[in-house]
């Protein structure tokens, strides 16, 4: 259970002027659920993710993750991060990139598990290739496998498919659903794509333009397991349409 209470964040920009990025964000996210955060550019989605993951401190409010503060949760290796870019190390092979968190945490088990993750992420046969030899979709798979390598209970994903083409993105959505069904981590997923948010999520959090505030939380009542073809359902279109309207007005 992740509980956000009245989170606010104010940055100082380069002119030393205060810029309010987030205001009074309150959310509660169930363990093992899939939550998407959607909103206009610059509304603080990434900031929110970083606050949950203890990379940034909130200016106001508090975060509780299974009763722990983000920095306490960090000590327990709670968070797996997937960023907009895959950010793989170019001198490490696929398997070595996946083993990186295990090495940093000196967790032998995590290092040993890298082989399973290669399978899970659909990278079998690619273990010894270098990042530059992979396509964008494959790199994203490696980034996901790396984030999962030490079994974090919370997976924080910041527009991981943003730089992929439409077809690859569809494939990666299905793959992420398949992986998530297996690992059942709590996922918080920042995205710009309404369709992606509806297809993947249990709940979609819609933020307002800066300063980001919660405009509405929409529960997606589509059955699980979800499949790509569900976007043809009238119900799917209706939800997506609602979200689109909420984002515009």
């Amino acid at each position: 259970m992740i509980e956000l209470t009245k989170i606010g964040k104010v940055f100082n920009n380069h002119n030393n002027k205060a810029v309010e990025a987030l205001r009074e964000i309150s959310l509660s996210i169930k363990k093992g659920s899939f939550t998407s955060v959607i909103g206009p550019s610059g509304c603080g989605k990434t900031t929110l993710l970083k606050i949950i993951g203890a990379i940034l401190d909130p200016s106001e409010g508090s975060v509780s993750i299974d009763g722990k503060s983000p920095s306490q949760a960090l000590l327990k290796h709670y968070f797996g991060f997937v960023f907009q870019e895959p950010t793989l190390l170019p001198w490490r092979s696929v398997i070595k990139n996946i083993q990186l968190p295990g090495e940093i945490l000196s967790e032998k088990k995590a290092i040993a598990r890298a082989g399973n993750l290669v399978e899970l992420a659909g990278l079998a046969g690619f273990e010894d290739l270098l990042p530059k030899e992979l396509s964008g979709g494959m790199k994203t798979r490696v980034a996901i496998a790396r984030a999962l390598s030490f079994h974090p209970p919370v997976l924080l994903m910041d527009e991981p498919f943003g730089s992929l083409d439409e077809m690859t993105r569809d494939t990666m959505n299905s793959e992420l659903l398949r992986i998530w069904e297996e690992i059942r981590a709590t996922v918080i997923f920042v995205t710009h794509s309404i369709r992606e948010a509806v297809l993947l999520s249990d709940n979609v959090v819609i933020l307002t333009p800066r300063p980001g505030q919660v405009k509405k939380i929409i529960h997606i009542d589509l059955p699980r397991p979800r499949i790509r073809e569900m976007y043809r359902l009238p119900q799917f279109g209706e939800i997506a349409g609602n979200i689109r309207e909420l984002l515009i007005f």
Partner: protein
């Protein structure tokens, strides 16, 4: 590449400039005879070649001194520059205290320190080595520092979320990322080392190619001066070649190329 392909590559890349050089030398030789230019003003290529033949041992002996100074000075400069860069990236306090002062040192035209070093460290190799070290460490330091700092911000976030130690960050991320920058610094340092060596020898020494140039200039032995220049260019090219070779090995290892 097999040797045949290599030869082909060599011919394709250098053949035209080699032909051009040969034509240039021939014209020089002919013009020198035609206009009867005195040797002490501009020796002909054949006269320079004769200077090589007449004082081959002498030139070799002094080349070796200069080469030795350059290599020792360069190695010390690289070592100090690299270690300082790592230390500055590792300890914030060093970044705040000594980094700005190093930039002050860099803004000194360092060749003018040569007379001072000759007073302090004598006529021998030591004063030259120290000057070369001083002239080279900075470009290694500044470029390596830049490289160590040039890590994708997301990667830093990832390391932060894994609570990686500074040492882990340095060894696993920063050092490998800095290698292309380190070699840029090295490539700037190499010619500077040659300049430092020759200048310091010219100013106060009884050995080395700088000394040969000074001596030849006093004796109006211009042919020998040209011979010394050719040797300096050769030394510079060899050292630069070694640096490029090492660069290829290291950057291939870290997949930057």
């Amino acid at each position: 590449m097999n040797w045949k392909a290599k030869t082909g590559w060599f011919i394709e890349n250098y053949c035209y400039s080699l032909i051009f050089l040969a034509i240039f030398l021939c014209l020089w030789q002919v013009a020198s005879g035609f206009f009867s230019i005195p040797e002490y003003i501009l020796p002909s290529p054949l006269q320079i070649l004769t200077a090589f033949q007449n004082s081959g041992n002498f030139l070799m002996r002094h080349s070796f001194v200069t080469l030795q100074e350059i290599i020792i000075g360069l190695v010390i400069g690289i070592f100090v520059g690299f270690i300082l860069a790592v230390a500055i990236s590792f300890f914030d306090i060093l970044h705040k205290t000594i980094y700005p002062l190093l930039i002050v040192i860099q803004s000194l035209p360092k060749v003018v320190l040569a007379p001072l070093f000759i007073i302090w460290f004598g006529f021998g190799m030591l004063s030259k080595i120290i000057l070369i070290g001083l002239m080279t460490f900075f470009s290694v330091l500044i470029n390596t520092s830049k490289g160590l700092a040039s890590v994708q911000p997301e990667l830093l976030d990832l390391m932060k979320s894994l609570r990686a130690s500074k040492a882990q960050l340095l060894l696993k991320i920063r050092l490998p990322s800095s290698m292309p920058y380190f070699f840029v610094g090295l490539k700037i340092a190499t010619p500077a080392a040659v300049i430092g060596a020759v200048f310091a020898e010219y100013l106060g020494s009884d050995r080395g190619l700088g000394y040969v140039i000074m001596l030849s200039s006093v004796n109006l032995d211009t042919s020998r001066m040209f011979a010394a220049l050719v040797l300096l260019a050769a030394i510079n090219m060899v050292i630069f070649g070694v640096v490029c070779f090492l660069e290829r090995i290291v950057l291939t290892r870290y997949r930057h190329v």
